[in-house]
Amino acid sequence: MSYLIDNNEGARYLLMGNESIVRGALEAGVKVAAGYPGTPSSEIIESLSKVGKEMDIYVEWSVNEKVAMEVAAAGSFAGLRSLCAMKQNGVNVASDFLLHLAGSGTRAGMVIVPCDDPGALSSVNEGESRYFARLVEIPLLEPGDFQEAKDMAKWAFELSEELRQIVMLRSVTRMSHASGNVVFGKLPVSDVHAEFKCDGFVLDPMEGIMTSAPVDYRHTQQQEKLNKAREIFEDCPFNTYDGPDSPELLIITSSACTLYSREAISILGLKDRVGLLKLGTTWPLPPKLLKKYLSMTDRIMIVEEVLPFLEENVKILAAEMAPEIGVKTFYGKNDGKIPMVGELNPDIVVNAIAQTLGIDYKAMPDEYANKAQGVAMAGTPSRELTFCPGCPHRASFWSIHNALELDGRKGFVCGDIGCYTLAILPCGFSSLKTTHSMGSGTGIASGFGKLGGFGFDQPILSVCGDSTFFHTGISALVNAVHHSSNFTMVILDNSGTAMTGFQPHPGLKVNALGDEVPSIDIEEVCRALGARVEVRDPFDLEETRKTINQLIEDKQGVNVLILRQICALSPEKKGKKKYEMTIDEEICLGENCGCNRVCTRIFRCPGLVWDKEKEVTRIDEVICTGCGVCADICPAGAIKKSSVLKEVA
């Protein structure tokens, strides 16, 4: 049983930020939760799914973020507290619905939790979801530590209910994926009945119809809700100040930057000189509260990730209040004290404060820093990202690369988001030439495939994961078939949402709660759409390569090639070797003409290691997963595979 549902009020636990949010939602009595996996948000729905049965919560991994938000909204409309969670990109996907939902309002408390990824630690963007709150005019909360993540999540439901409006609770990687101590509150005893009341007066928020029209009326309502939120935020305990009454410098911050700022002040020993205003309610800003603290000093530094959201909003308020509070000097993104790109850390804040106050600070003695730098430069080979040992993607991209090189007509691959995004790098033989959002490789390919009339004659491939196929790949495929575009869509089907930890998707027979559900057969769907469909095992390199070459010769319509092989990290495969791999050192050609280390120089599976002394390849038995693919790329037959099905202890 998960500790997240320990009914142990007052007990202290070590929780990951995402788990804290979940505990807060549980304490609020959440009943409906939906999301789409994406780092760093995945543990929210994941953890809820594990307690869904015991706590009587409907939890689903939806097909995409927009649908997730719609599913959660239905819960709210029917009187159930609901939550939807997603990474920052997901808010873009859901934003069409979000705009309209903000217009219609909600009923039972509804919270959207976007987890932003400043520094793009596991993303291909560092997009900001906070601007959506301002854009669609809904309240925004940002927890500043782990306890607050729980408490604020609980409060967000209450706030939403009070306002009849969706509330955004924004987290970041260093909050979601960091852990700290959290004291548990009480779990509610729930007894709810779901009903959607819609027979009342049409404009009645609780019994009328749920829509954003008539726009002038609803929009006015929406802004009144925002004004109410502003009032509530004036006295909110999540906005705190720590520091002297008249600080030399006032730092205004939110989210994980609170912890960085607090540590920076501590490191520099400036508790008596620098004040820290930590805001938990960052949109709309409470003007009276801001006025009080802005009046304390003339120098204000704003510390936040990533874009100057707070900075802009505080400056607007400061400009309006200037006749009363005087002219202020601001430090932050705009003057370059705090970088506008990437994530922050205590050192960046230390340096910004030190620079502003003219303090000399060195994190390390020069001598030590130089020595450490020198040793590291000489002795730490960098670690480039690569596919895991035994990853089907390495095999798939091997065949894709070879097919395109053989074909010789400058073919290329359009990719999107998943582990296979790594195919931009040498681990995927640098095959991907475009990568944007979920499903966009196929959409872009659909466009390229219509350029023949302009002399375009390069073969086009798109790659898309199985989960991504359902997310947005399918709509791109529909578009392509309907418009008679000409390209080959390769669906890299590894039977799960592998990158984020094997969440189920509509192609699988089980849902988030572990119930058996109807699965949707990708192959049948593609066929029904009118595409020519082939299915291959990517571990059969030659057959896969041949098929790709045949498909890209096809000058008509859309082809779909499904490369089906389970992820090497999947629970089914992990720890089980299909083959025991060995090297015949007598036969290994090494660096000689005839091979020149094709396995370690080009294929680069981490399970294969070049032994410089003996000038042969070795198998690293700890790392090798025994997939057997490397045996088929060895030109000399020196890599041997023998069948075993061995379970590691």
Binding site: Y3, Y13, L14, T39, P40, L121, S122, D145, F146, T173, R174, H177, A178, S179, G180, N181, A256, L259, Y260, R262, E263, N345, P346, D347, A363, M364, P365, Y368, K371, A372, Q373, V375, A376, A378, G379, T380, P381, S382, R383, E384, L385, T386, F387, C388, L422, C427, M499, R597, T600, R601, R604, P606, L608, V609, W610, K612, D620, V622, V648, A649
Partner: protein
């Protein structure tokens, strides 16, 4: 071992290694052991893309009274547990100081660039020399190899935790370890984990 007082507050621990080594698991177990002793612990870690062959670090801040930034400031590590030896050096470059203690596994995991013959991996002697130059106390143990001998290389992490206990800088003990793992691993695996923990403790005492 269980009643050692921390020499600093916050006491900063870095567990470093390579994606797939079980870094996150090790930091979880250690942090929970310390929480059970009444400490506030903050862990900062990054996973996601870094799992795929990249360096992975967990930052643990241990304090009597409060939580701290999930990222340790530069130059402020107190003890570094390196599940992979060159990662120890990489960490020292950013977080080292003359007083830092290093506990390192000896099993190298070659970066792809080394596998590909494009980069050089330093010899164990070179690594040991570099680490000794940059730290006050240094222990190198063959944790993965011993783990393999016990039947699973991943037990190397538990051996490292046992060794950390043996080093005597943190309030850790066997009972605390047992209490924490009992909640997260199947019952039939507990004995072998305890054996690995004991083994690690012994290895640094010799």
């Amino acid at each position: 071992m269980g009643n050692i007082q921390l020499s600093k507050d916050p006491y900063n621990i870095i567990i470093t290694g390579v994606g797939g080594q079980g870094n996150v698991m090790a930091s979880r177990v250690l942090a929970n052991m310390l929480v059970k002793k009444g400490y506030c612990v903050t862990i900062g870690e990054s996973f996601g893309a870094s799992q795929r062959g990249g360096s992975v670090m967990s930052h643990l801040r241990v304090s009597r009274s409060s939580i701290w930034s999930p990222q340790i400031p530069r130059g402020r590590a107190d003890v570094v547990i390196a599940l992979e030896p060159v990662e120890a050096i990489r960490v020292l470059k950013d977080y080292g100081n003359p007083e830092v203690k290093i506990l390192s596994n000896t099993r190298a995991i070659s970066p792809v660039g080394v596998i590909a013959g494009e980069l050089d991996y330093p010899s164990m002697e070179e690594i040991k020399k570099s680490v000794k130059e940059l730290a006050s106390d240094v222990w190198f143990i063959d944790a993965t190899d011993e783990g393999l001998r016990l039947g699973n290389p991943i037990l190397g992490n538990i051996i490292m935790l046992g060794a950390l206990s043996g080093v005597g800088v943190l309030p850790m003990d066997r009972e605390g370890f047992k209490g924490v793992i009992s909640r997260s691993i199947p019952e039939d695996k507990i004995d072998i984990n305890l054996k690995a923990y004991d083994m690690g403790e012994q290895m640094v005492r010799v």
